[in-house]
Amino acid sequence: MEPIKFEDHIREQLQEREIQPSKDAWKKLNLQSNKSVLPLKRKYGYAIAASIVGLLIVSSLLFVNQDFDQDKTTIVNENKTQIKEPKEEIIPVSKIEKVVVAEEKETKTKISENQIKDKTTKPKIVKNTIIATTDNKIIASENSQEPSIIASVETTNKTIKSPEELLIDLKINEVVAEINLLQKENNSVTVDEIEELLIKAQSEIHSKNLFVNNSKKVDATALLETVETELETSFREKVFDALGERFKKVRTAVLERDQ
């Protein structure tokens, strides 16, 4: 038998050798990998997914905040306008009440003075109903058992007009009152006198409308309108409607002059 090279023999023996690992070796490896590395790809995947979700949440929050800020500003603006509106009216509350009363008289509604007093004695009910809704039908159905309250609500709803409308109504009543006064004093009123009163009232309405939303900024359109000083026929017609049949001739004369 030939001698064997010792180192070659060792190499062969060791390279061919296989040692079976213990039965739980794979489990151990899995445990180690769960703690540290094995499904590292998955861990990276989860981490990436989590960071993407995080980014989305943060960006959506930012986006929502921006929207909220925008909403805030619009709300503020709305509030401003809401606050300004009553200022612009310069709440001639007493006058408005007069107008309402005058209207009621002229249109011959069945609302008595007692009912109007009821309105003042029960302000809470009226206010609450107005805040709840402005729809007369709904109010009527809600308060069908209390006719006096309904009446007061209806009258209050009639007063809910835009500032411009209230101003026009006020001026109409002023003009009508002045014409009536002139007629009482002089027993007659000329077309020129009525024309003068109408122009004066119209110019006052325009001058008040010059200031938009109480912002002290002059509205160019309104300015042009005043320069023209042309009375709107609707305003005139309203005045003559208020004067009634007595001034039918004057009405036709004034309208013919305009044309």
């Binding site: 038998m1 001698p3 064997i4 090279k5 010792f6 180192e7 023999h9 060792i10 190499r11 023996q13 060791l14 390279q15 061919e16 050798r17 296989e18 040692i19 079976q20 690992p21 213990s22 070796a25 794979w26 151990k28 490896l29 180690q32 990998s33 540290s36 590395v37 094995l38 499904p39 590292l40 790809k41 998955r42």
Partner: protein, 188 residues
Amino acid sequence: MKVVSLHKNYKSLISKAIKGDDKAQHQMFELFAPKMLSICRQYVKNNVLAEEVMLSGFLKVFTHLDSFKSEGSFEGWIRRIMVNESISQLRKEKKLQFKEEEISENSLNLVAYIETEIEVNEIQKMIDQLPEGYKTVFVLYVVEGYKHSEISEMLGISEGTSKSQLFKARKMLQKSINKENGISYGTH
């Protein structure tokens, strides 16, 4: 043809294992673990510790599987990881200590012959008796086939130290073989 098909199998196995396929990873483990445990056992003194080293080696295998380039042998790549892991373990235990010793060039050519084959368990016992430094250099040089330059890099020692460690290891092994078997000496 057989080699080619085996290589192809590794490829698909590797790509599945990279994707985190549990079955593929388990299959890979079953395929290579016995050999890898044997490698680790060459450096580490008992099977339990060798298995721990092997498992941490497999962790690295699966972690860095995507960095394996198909140019070389996959088994060779895993072997290298196991060897490095074993050396790291010895370093952790501070068992790797090397003494600088001068040796003559002639002594490196010393070749030992044996009359009868020695059982692998006996071989392992003889290797286990070597000091860690001698044993590591001997296994790296004789069994794994690394050059002294490579060993010096792996262990952070000079080539001379690697050579002297090998010489000392050979001498010790020859003595132990001499006790059990008839041994003769010669040169390359």
